[in-house]
Assembly symmetry: C3
Homo-oligomer: 317 residues x 3
């Protein structure tokens, strides 16, 4: 695993939450809370990253996450440039590393990268100069660390200490980077109990997610939980023959009001979006009083501001 810290212990890259300590995560969440604003409030503004240039390199389409990072950077006073590049393959005869060296020669201090190919982020991080940070905006099925942090921030805002929570992750866990990063952050924050719920074909291999209880029905798995994290079926990562029929899937694994009633009465419902309403979640639940899905979006900007500030705050002009 790539070293994510500088010799002085400060955070340099954020490619995975896997090796982050509880105190490191809590410091990021505390700073993110400083930048968190409710829907309808004015967005936060700061000049902390004035003079810092950030590249948004998204090789998989993702308007939401790209714009979220773009706003996070701009609201800290940084310059953010969206660049369409192919990191994993060769475009116009230019290798990935030449692209990276070019970006650092252009004085980009932070490279925000989304890539479908496992390992590209660590490869980039291993080769950039010492003053450059690499942030994951989603890597294959493996990792989506800022999503994990925003999920933790959202739970904490509504439910208080993570250590007191029983959290269920529901759906296509096998192909989900969101699930893996959520697992890592909630394990680091010592959640009371973590559950995985989904059909056997979409469950992760047995060696992954150690310490989680596994369920194959929502009726059983949701009993008494405090947090319900729904996932999207990742059709683009599933062999055609293994994609479940959507009506059948909703009938067995869709989150309906009746099933949600099995959870703790104060339970919250989360979803990383985009939602497939009527597939993994019923519309009335998605828009209902227990849903915190829109707040997750707002918290995404706050978390990305905290992470950008953590890795680049010392470079500002």
């Amino acid at each position: 695993m790539i070293e994510q810290r500088r010799p002085n212990g400060s955070l340099r890259h954020l490619i995975t939450l896997e090796d982050l300590r509880r105190d490191e995560i809590e410091a990021l969440l505390q700073r993110a809370q400083h930048y968190a604003r409710g829907v309808g409030q004015a967005p936060p503004g700061s000049e902390r990253l004035r003079g810092v240039t950030i590249a948004n390199l998204f090789t998989e389409p993702s308007t939401r996450t790209r714009v979220s990072f773009e706003l996070a950077g701009r609201r800290l006073g940084a310059e953010v440039v969206n660049i369409e590049v192919q990191l994993s393959s060769r475009a116009k005869g230019e290798s990935m590393l030449d692209t990276i060296y070019t970006l650092q020669a252009l004085h980009f201090a932070v490279l925000v990268i989304r890539d479908a190919e496992p390992g590209v982020l660590a490869h980039v991080a291993a080769h950039v100069a010492a003053h450059v940070s690499v942030l994951s905006a989603g890597e294959a099925h493996l990792s989506h660390p800022t999503q994990g942090l925003l999920d933790a921030l959202t739970v904490r805002q509504h439910k208080g200490s993570i250590a007191a929570q029983c959290i269920a992750i529901v759906g296509d866990i096998r192909h989900s980077r969101v699930a893996r990063s959520a697992y890592q952050v909630f394990r680091a924050l010592e959640a009371r109990s973590l559950r995985l719920i989904g059909p056997p074909t979409l469950m992760p291999p047995a060696h992954e997610f150690p310490g989680c209880e596994r369920f194959d029905t929502l009726e059983e798995g949701l009993a008494g939980v405090d947090v319900v994290m729904m996932l999207r079926i990742q059709k683009e990562r599933i062999a055609q023959s293994d994609i479940p029929d959507t009506e059948e899937y909703f009938a067995r694994y869709g989150l309906t009001a009746a099933r949600l009633a099995r959870a703790h009465p104060g339970a919250i419902v989360m979803h990383p979006q985009p939602m497939n309403r009527g597939v993994e979640i019923a519309s009335d639940v998605a828009d209902g009083p227990q849903s915190v899905i829109r707040e997750q979006v707002s918290n995404g900007v706050a978390v990305r501001m905290a992470v950008l500030e953590a890795v680049a705050g010392n470079m500002a002009a």
Copy 2:
């Protein structure tokens, strides 16, 4: 029709000019005049919208209008983000309203939308939170309110009071949102006389444009007019069999110097662009002394600054 004003009467959305009062339009034009600059002058600069985030959501291609809104926002100190989304159909399983809720959770305060599908703008405006404004940058064949305002501003700069003018709208009126918004603004400002000129197949239904005189030749229709507003043939909105042959069209409905001579000697010539030179307008007229087509473009930025300030000026940091 959607309510475009806040409970206190101030402008919140601008989706149509249909229900705007004369005093409201005149206040917008006066403010736009404050921001108007001739070609060759430095553009206006302001910090009035510092801390406000604006989304440019264009689902039909339009470099000119998109850039005009982008510059208007930036020259007021706002953050403007161009976002490529499909509002009317479903992309990646995400419904239009989820996209909108996501944008407001990202603290966008203004959504500038161009869409080919009638009703999308009102649908969005009916669902956004109270602090979010929706501005039309062109809706189907129905409405293009900032174009209507910039047309009015341009006439006023050259000819003085709209109430004294005889204005002719020429060409493919049936499929033109520009014509509809122009009609609405000039009617509200009580133009002396409004004329529609075009071939019968491109004339609007009889119930539309009440109070206008209709002509099917330029020779008759242009006699004595003060303002000639040319329109583009909207090929993309016309059944293939109904698109006129371009040479024939120019021969019968093209604005030539000879035909323009029928108008008042001080008449001005306008066009919303892009122009089809040699189809609806002769090049020497487009570039001639009576043409104010380029000033319309400059006035577009000024009008959009005034509208953005009107809807979002109270949200600035």
Copy 3:
């Protein structure tokens, strides 16, 4: 040739280096040196172009050069807008000049244009209003003036006075705008000696590059040179049948360590990128101690800042 200076002698356009005087080039290089920063240093920041709006009009794809101009403008405090337009052909019935007139009516003060069609830049420059500047970001096989300037800056930083240098340009010179601009700048700065090295099929016509010695082997041509400028095979500009086989090309014209040893021991190796490693250059040379390829990228931003400031510094708010 288009006049690139204003009546008072100051630089207005930069479309070619062909007619620039030595003192003009040296003034630009001196100012670029002021903005030059090593990789790892903070980028330069200035407010000199606050209130100036710059359009990036790239009709050939080029992430590197587009981003370089974008950062140069933004780091001077200007607004930079990337606009995807077709200048050379007709899009949506709008002619090139109407696009240009629209851009100046939107108060763009600088148009940065990359175009594959010879003559488009001069045509635009001949038609824009007096307050608008046109900068080339690469024109067909003809000219890439900011690349020429950054090459000169890079040589000067490493080797001192250009007048003392023997410089070899190697590879597909016939199709290279980089080679032509390099030739012009080094000739104006009175380089001691200029050499062209390449296979006969990729050599320029005899009347071009007057005063250069020509070689068809690297072994001969590199003997004793101070600067080695490698070029990319411009496949997109070569008839399919004339594109050399890449293995064969590397065998005969690839810059290897053995061939580089023929040059002066302190010689530097340059390449405009993107590199075809293993075709025109060996990877160990590209990444070796004599390579200054990454510094060229950093110098590109500095040169573009100097040029933008030279043409638009008097327009700032």
